[in-house]
């Protein structure tokens, strides 16, 4: 039986260069397509055009939240109906009291209209939406009034 001489077997060299080339190509592609997307969320409102002019009669009266802008477009006054509130937190507590009395959170058909001054900073309008639509307790979101709309624009 003939036995091959294993001493003279060729040493196989693995070609790393093409692999490293491709790997770097992939890396560069992923680095360039990387974009940071910040978490964003929405307040959904349904405002058909007819609601402003001929609102159908509801069992519960429409609540009106008035936001008055002062100097430098900052918030000067918050009003729920005729009752003024010092902060959005007070407004939220007032709404929590109302909604909890009338059948538990999320079950009310109460509608709220936000009447904000034209020049008011939008952040305050969103704060009002936050105060009206719900609150967060121990990391859990609770809904209050979901039917929110803006008052018709006054010129």
């Amino acid at each position: 039986m003939k036995i091959r001489n294993t001493e003279h077997r060729e040493h196989i060299v693995l070609q790393m260069t093409p692999m490293i080339d491709i790997v770097f190509q992939l890396l560069v592609f992923f680095v360039f397509t990387f974009k940071i997307v910040l978490p964003e969320g929405d307040f959904n409102i349904r405002m058909p055009a007819s609601a402003g002019s001929s609102a159908q009669p509801s069992e519960t009266p429409l609540l009106k939240v008035k936001l008055v802008a002062g100097a430098d477009r900052e918030l000067a006054r918050i009003q729920l109906g005729d009752q003024p509130y010092a902060s959005f937190l007070d407004l939220q507590n007032a709404i929590r009291g109302m909604v909890d009395d009338s059948g538990g959170p999320g079950t009310t058909d109460q509608e709220v209209e936000i009447d904000a001054d034209f020049d008011l900073r939008y952040q305050y309008a969103i704060n009002a939406m936050t105060a009206i639509t719900g609150y967060q307790e121990n990391g859990v979101q609770h809904k209050l009034i979901e039917r929110v709309r803006f008052a018709p624009l006054k010129e």
Partner: protein, 155 residues
């Protein structure tokens, strides 16, 4: 003089293993965080913060995004529109396309409003008014998610 034997000098090869390890780690990282979703964001707009602004569970079937900068410019479909009339013209075109080329009605379209926190609330209402005139009904006011309560801490 003693001359070194050049014939037995070995080929010096750098150890590529750690570099390849790191490169694969990087590729794995970028592959996991890559996001191909078509998110409409614009760096000119800083969204108002709200703890209730959580990302929607399901994407909208037919979204239509309008941006509003703090200087009152409307950004729509990659164009910078400075007046309500030009926005209206662009939206009329869009609504005609939706009505003629899709089976959806305009009431199914969700108008996403990405307004800057320093924008005037009245300009947001102008967008809503313009859309209502064209028979859009659903609106989503977009805010950025906040980990801290935006209405202040309860006492």
């Amino acid at each position: 003089m003693r001359i070194k034997n050049r014939g037995h000098r070995g080929i010096v090869e750098g150890d590529l293993t750690p570099m390849i390890d790191m490169t694969f780690q990087l590729i794995a990282f970028f592959m996991l965080v890559i996001n191909f979703s078509d998110v409409e964001q614009d760096q000119r707009v800083t969204l108002p913060a709200s703890e209730l602004a959580t990302p929607p569970v399901a994407p909208y079937e037919h979204p239509l995004t309008i941006h509003l900068t703090d200087s009152g410019d409307f950004l729509y479909a990659g164009r910078d529109l400075t007046s309500t009339d030009s926005l209206r013209a662009a939206l009329v075109l869009e609504s005609q396309i939706i009505q003629r080329h899709t089976t959806k009605s305009l009431a199914d379209v969700t108008v996403i409003i990405r307004a800057d926190e320093d924008a005037r609330t009245g300009n947001v209402q102008k967008i809503i008014d313009t859309c209502q005139d064209l028979k859009f009904e659903r609106f989503a006011l977009r805010g950025k998610q906040s980990e801290v309560p935006t209405l202040g801490k309860p006492e």
